[in-house]
């Protein structure tokens, strides 16, 4: 019986070890597929696209990060790259102090034409709420990593010149009924949360039909 017990314990340790190994393998950073789309400021896609998808997001929001790495990529391939949809990112920093700093950093990166690269990086390094990932010193490091002009970026962070734009984004969101993140406005319709891709597809197709 003792030997049987030892075998069971060994089996348990092997199974647990295997699960841990699979977990670490699953959680490894994924290669992101690059889809080339035109981008200006916090907008992505053709300026003449018939449908606009406005996203209200917080860089500390986990569901916003899920959307950025999942559904947004698919939307880019199927609607943005084909000129049907233009994506506009609007700041809605509500989760904590570092949300505001991240929003400021992202808008400062936008001034140097690197908003979307900064957006992707922020969601990639996101750890938790006010966990230190978006402290000003870290934002400067991210800017350096992306090859931004350090002095201009630092000056932008310290001057508060982008705060008014962020305030306008929040007010715009409130006007549409946004209360949390992520929230989306497609053709005047509010979608709350990182819904399945089919929900966005349906809203976009409806908006495209109305635009014809």
């Amino acid at each position: 019986m003792r030997r049987t017990l030892v075998l069971f314990i060994a089996g348990a340790v092997i199974v647990a070890g295997g699960l841990i190994g699979l977990s670490l393998y699953s959680a490894r950073p994924q290669k992101t597929e690059v889809v080339v789309v035109p981008a200006q400021g916090t907008t992505k896609g053709s300026p003449t696209a018939p449908v606009t998808l406005m996203e209200f997001a917080d860089f500390q929001c986990s569901h916003c990060a899920d959307f950025a790495s999942g559904t947004l990529r698919r939307l880019e391939r199927e609607y943005v790259a084909t000129g049907k949809v233009r994506v506009v990112f609007r700041q809605f920093p509500v989760l904590g102090q570092e949300s505001v700093w991240a929003a400021i950093g992202a808008e400062c990166a936008a001034k140097q034409g690197k908003f979307w690269a900064f957006h992707d990086l922020l969601f990639r390094v996101r750890r938790g709420v006010d966990a230190g990932a978006f402290l000003p010193a870290r934002l400067l490091a991210y800017a350096r990593e992306l090859g931004l002009d350090q002095e201009a970026f630092r000056a932008c962070l310290q001057s508060g010149q982008v705060v008014e734009k962020i305030r306008e984004d929040i007010q715009e969101g409130v006007k549409y009924g946004v209360e949390g993140t992520p929230s989306f406005v497609i053709g005047g319709r509010l979608i709350v949360g990182n819904q399945p891709y089919e929900v966005f597809k349906e809203a976009i197709e409806e908006a495209l039909a109305q635009a014809r």
């Binding site: 019986m1 017990l5 069971f8 647990a16 841990i20 699979l22 959680a27 949360g193």
Partner: protein, 157 residues
């Protein structure tokens, strides 16, 4: 040797664990908001560590708890069987309760080790705590400890 107290604790803890895992699995699949103390649950359950090879960890937990419930029920039924005849030499079937107890212990031990790994990830990588996950970790540890207590008593000479 397992007593009815061991069985009640294992059955009770695994039932509560199944409820928690079922709830987490439901919110993962449906995308609905998770009731949580603080924001840690959202952070933890949308991290890459909440899924293993495409399978939500909540489903693994639910499977484990349901398996333990099945095994403890089976073990209880076997342990309360009348021995065949009055011979002190019980048929081989009488060994089965121990095998089931050992299997429950091994399953809970694997769950405890994996829960410890996930808790470490929460504390040191994600820096967010999911209260549901902590509750499940405590339950599976309690199942492992309880079943170990009974099994080791049985296995002692």
């Amino acid at each position: 040797m397992w007593t009815n107290r061991h069985r009640w604790i294992v059955a009770g803890a695994s039932s509560v664990g199944a409820g928690i895992s079922g709830y987490l699995a439901y919110t993962k699949v449906s995308g609905s908001s998770l009731l949580c103390v603080g924001r840690g649950c959202e952070i933890v359950n949308s991290s890459p560590f909440a899924v293993v090879m495409g399978v939500p960890v909540a489903f693994l937990g639910l499977g484990m708890y349901l398996a333990i419930i099945f095994l403890v029920t089976w073990e209880t039924l076997l342990s309360h069987r009348r021995p065949i005849g009055s011979s002190p030499h019980l048929p081989p079937l009488a060994l089965h309760p121990f095998l089931l107890q050992a299997a429950i212990f091994a399953m809970a031990l694997a769950g405890t080790i994996y829960s410890a790994y996930l808790t470490a990830i929460e504390l040191f990588w994600l820096r967010a705590i999911c209260s549901w996950c902590v509750a499940s970790a405590i339950l599976v540890t309690a199942i492992a400890a309880t079943s170990a207590h009974g099994v080791l008593l049985r296995a002692s000479p």
